[in-house]
């Protein structure tokens, strides 16, 4: 990998996840991005819980991040912004996957049907 791209090693993964799931919205038509209120209400608690977990894990030295392979934008002085974005991007991808399964398997119940 070129040195200039090294700081985006983590951020790049998140961009790839967003781009590879986008056809589910545009072609399959899952309507996840187009339900922003429901999406926001889903993501917010996940972000809160997993940010706390992350902060504890960093404090307890469960894991650490390579400063050379992250952008260097830090939250609370210790947490790369990529981690916050990870907790946003992955739930979106997961919800899109579930909705994609429902589009194909129309009779499979999830629990929010009328």
């Amino acid at each position: 990998m070129p040195d200039a791209l090294l700081p985006y090693s983590y951020l790049g993964v998140l961009v790839v996840i967003l781009l590879t799931t986008l056809p589910l919205e545009l072609y399959l038509g899952v309507r996840v991005w187009r339900r922003p209120r429901r999406l926001l209400l889903t993501i917010a608690p996940v972000v809160a819980v997993f940010l706390l977990w992350d902060l504890y894990a960093i404090d307890a030295e469960h894991w650490f991040f390579d400063p050379a392979q992250t952008t260097g934008v830090m939250l609370f002085g210790v947490l790369p912004i990529e981690e916050l974005l990870f907790f946003v991007v992955v739930p979106i991808a997961a919800v899109m996957t579930l909705e994609a399964v429902r589009v194909v398997k129309t009779h499979w119940v999830v629990g929010d049907e009328r």
Partner: protein
């Protein structure tokens, strides 16, 4: 607590929320397990990238794994510690549960899917139904 203990706790908490608190019971639904199977495949790829390149490094004192990232073995799958699978499972289950909870309460429940793929399938199904009802007219009506 170690990462191992926290990861197990995370899965237990998510499962209790799913089965007893939200009562969404995604753990008992085919749609969930099918979606999770797809998600976990991609999780192994992205996690492999993050761990194999040492973008994130785990402390062996807090995981089952004893040493540095290896492709497979020593409690690692595609470089990532097995605890990450539990972490990911808890996150995916919680996310999907919350999505269903809000949908159940009427937030963003409508409208349904509307992409080109769905429109093509629905048109095909309508054409099939029409042709089953009246083969000659349906055949003439086809574009």
């Amino acid at each position: 607590m170690t990462y191992t203990q926290l990861a197990v706790l995370g899965v237990v908490v998510a499962a209790v929320l799913d089965l007893a608190v939200f009562r969404t019971r995604l753990l008992r639904r085919r749609a969930f397990w099918t979606a999770y199977a797809i998600v976990v495949f991609f999780q192994l790829l992205t996690n492999g990238w993050l761990t194999g390149r040492h973008i994130v490094t785990y402390n062996p004192d807090t995981t089952l794994t004893d040493g540095d990232a290896v492709l497979l073995g020593d409690w690692r799958i595609l470089y990532a510690p097995v605890e990450d699978l539990l972490f990911g499972f808890a996150m995916v289950l919680l996310s999907l549960d919350l999505w269903v909870v809000w949908g159940r309460r009427g937030v963003g429940r409508e409208p349904s899917a509307d992409g080109p793929w769905v429109r093509r399938r629905d048109a095909q199904q309508a054409a099939d139904a029409a042709s089953a009802q009246n083969p000659r007219r349906a055949r003439n009506a086809r574009p």
